[in-house]
Amino acid sequence: MLQDKIQDVFNEPGCATNQSKSAKDKKKGCTKSLKPGAAAGGCAYDGAMIVLQPIADAAHLVHGPIACLGNAWDNRGTKSSGSQLYRTGFTTDLSELDVINGGEKKLFRAIKEIIQQYDPPAVFVYQTCVPAMTGDDIAAVCKFATQKLGKPVIPVDAPGFVGSKNLGNKLAGEALLDHVIGTVEPEYTTPTDVCIIGEYNLAGELWLVKPLLDEIGIRLLSCISGDGRYNQVAQAHRARVTMMVCSQALVNVGRKMEERYGIPYFEGSFYGVSDMSDTLRTMTRMLVERGADKSLIDRAEGVIAREESRVWRRLEPYKPRFDGKRVLLFTGGVKSWSMVSALEGAGLTILGTSTKKSTKEDKERIKKMKGDEFHQWDDLKPRDIYKMLATSEADIMMSGGRSQFISLKAKVPWLDINQERHHAYAGYDGIVNLCEEIDKTLSNPIWRQVRLPAPWDTPAAAPLLAAE
């Protein structure tokens, strides 16, 4: 059951990292074991929510005690152009009696209430640690509810303690494969239908990319799951090509869709100018290979040429302002990597990055791109970062929200490039947005002021009150 599922996603042939491991290491999975007292990051349930919650018109019901939802709802930056139901927090809020007597009946009642009151196209039910321990069978309840209530009710079996966020991403993908994808047929199909996996429309990023696809003539049939609708996700099996954005997290979905429906997939990125262009080129080429009209490629090249010349022209004014400014990247993911060349193109110097979450291949890639002198820190402690910043070895830090105070308390500019960010950095316009944000914070007048010593720490050069 759940254990089989976990072993299955750990044994992912589509993942290059996994393929280079021994049989024993494979079994251990792709997450480093967590060290009690020195661990950070979310759990598997958190990861599952990240993947599925952007499906905006579905109800997302958390089966667990209050901590799992009550401490954490309406806190993600994923945007929807229509239904806002995904922002409503639903939980069974298990009490002590539910722990003792079992929470299955309460779960069914909750599903029924939600369907009666909100009439969503589907309900996702998330398993958490406590009911997983007491043995609530959410798969059975969901099956029963689907039959009884006539709406798809999808069990997402990813209780927090089974592993990391990344594992939760994959288990959410499995839930989609098992219960959602392939259950709805689109009204019509076109030779240019694509499915994008792993794009969550944070800060509305998808909306910086979609107009370009529209212009080229590519139809976004299904996005998993940014600005998503349940029925669109369920139609994903009719796409001609799948693109995987956050490559490793949902590789199981891309590969299994290829296996089941013969849809080829590629890994791409919307971050950075050259990556964006590569993505458009690969997408159109693969669509043409599968029978789309050849003119698609020409249209894509036209858009790329126009957008690239436009973006470099727009980045020009930043060059003199960014001259000599040094950036410390503190993020493990590959996606920030694709921004690097664009940032350097705009005149910034990238000092180095942490590679805590990066794979061996990532590290090799970085080495190839940047040479040996470029710093790659494997286990940079917050205190070390603070020291680097406080001794002004860098002019700005770019990282996730968790580490922002390391930078701010060292009185060094900081920019959020992770999932809580408020600005969209995808696509060609996104890179310009990113440079604008960097420029805004670097040139803010507060930095000189906040670094001033307090009046009691410095003897005044000339006494203000001219005493005799």
């Binding site: 967590l34 060290k35 009690p36 007292g37 020195a38 661990a39 950070a40 990051g41 979310g42 759990c43 598997a44 958190d46 667990g64 005690p65 209050i66 901590a67 799992c68 009550g70 401490n71 954490a72 709802w73 309406d74 806190n75 806002q84 922002r87 409503t88 927090g89 639903f90 939980t91 069974t92 809020d93 009490s95 002590e96 539910d98 722990v99 309460k106 779960l107 009642r109 909750a110 599903i111 209430e113 939600i114 640690c129 406590v130 321990m133 007491t134 927090g160 303690f161 089974v162 592993g163 917050p382 205190r383 970062i385 603070y386 020291k387 929200g401 968790r402 105070f405 390391i406 308390k409």
Partner: protein, 468 residues
Amino acid sequence: MSHIQRFPSAAKAASTNPLKMSQPLGAALAYLGIDRCLPLFHGSQGCTAFGLVLLVRHFREAIPLQTTAMDQVSTILGGYENLEQALRTIVERNSPAMIGVATTGVTETKGEDMGGQFTLFRQRNPDMADTALVFANTPDFTGGFEDGFGAAVTAIVDRLVEPSPTMVKTQINVLAGCHLSPGDVEELRDLIESFGLSPIFLPDLSLSMCGRQPSDFTATSLGGVTVDQIRSMGASVATLVIGEHMRIAGNALELKTDVPGHFFSRLTGLEASDKLIRLLAELSGQPVPAKIRRQRDSLVDAMLDGHFFFSRKRIAVALEPDLLYAVTSFLADMGAEVVAAVSPTQTLVLEKLKAATVMVGDHSDVETLARDADLIISNSHGRQGAARLGVPLHRMGLPMFDRLGAGLTVHVGYRGTRNLLFAVGNLFLSAEMDHDHHPAAHHGDHKTDGHKTEGHACGGGSCGCSAG
């Protein structure tokens, strides 16, 4: 209020847009008010990650919080090893003065024997005897934020406070409940010190969560009441117990040390503040300082100026129980009508509430009960419902992630009461003075029923406008 409708809890199975937060989170906040402390959740790492994000978003500060990172196996086989490893790692890496442990749903469902584990840890690790250790039982599936805060403070008192043979005549203890913001604690310190008394706050968030600028990076709380100060609480002349959820800790302290306790159900409002000032004058034997006399005058004046806008206003309030009591009582003091008082949990203080409807519920209940209200007061999560109803929202409590300075708002004492009066009064005032939206408002007579009318209901021209 002729009829008060009370029901213990909603009959719903699906808690929708929860108001409740978990017990461990409350415990974590209490621990954060201890100097050089690191709170530790005994549970899966997601429990910590969600709580951390919530507190970071509210206080805009780095939040030290660690996890025992329980996985499936350790959950089933028992978590002592994880706990020991976590405690050892924390001491070795961060050498805190105190580690505050809070259990979660995961370890409580298993039924970990925390008392036994405490003794076992102390026996096996004599080298760590210098680090204070406090364990609190805070299952996610019972109680809520306030209960967890209370449990942690009680555990600290039980574990650390010692009776004292001597007495320091000017020293008083304050058990500061979680309805007091760091700003409130600072205000209380100011009031108490102005009588020549020196207070020990347990916990003291005003020193740790108020925007300190550290000279080096620390992974523990920076500032707060020190462990030594806590140990010396037995030497005080009196203890102020603020809030119903501090009562158990207050009783424990009195029982242990014979320091007499003085209970305050609230410190917001003129009479409530009078009671505090009278006690401080008695304890210190000092006359009330001129500054405080002026503050009282100023509050009386604010009540005179402001009461026009509060009279018969219909207000729905949803907050943690003790804050709910303080706010609804203050609103009643000002002549407003509390149409609904919604609490996340069932506690004794609800019996004392003056409101048309008192219930244990969530934000969706507020949405139902506040349909024809003039104002909603709740945490930031009330924003979705308030927007749907078109009713203004005044944010109080936690989390308040869409306002700056959330932790520093003051609503205790004469000055704090005046702040709250102005903040809420201004919302009513601006609604009434918003002439642009109601061009017809000044034609014809003033509507006197003041309830959901289009008219300019400024209560007889008291707003200072030329109407009427």
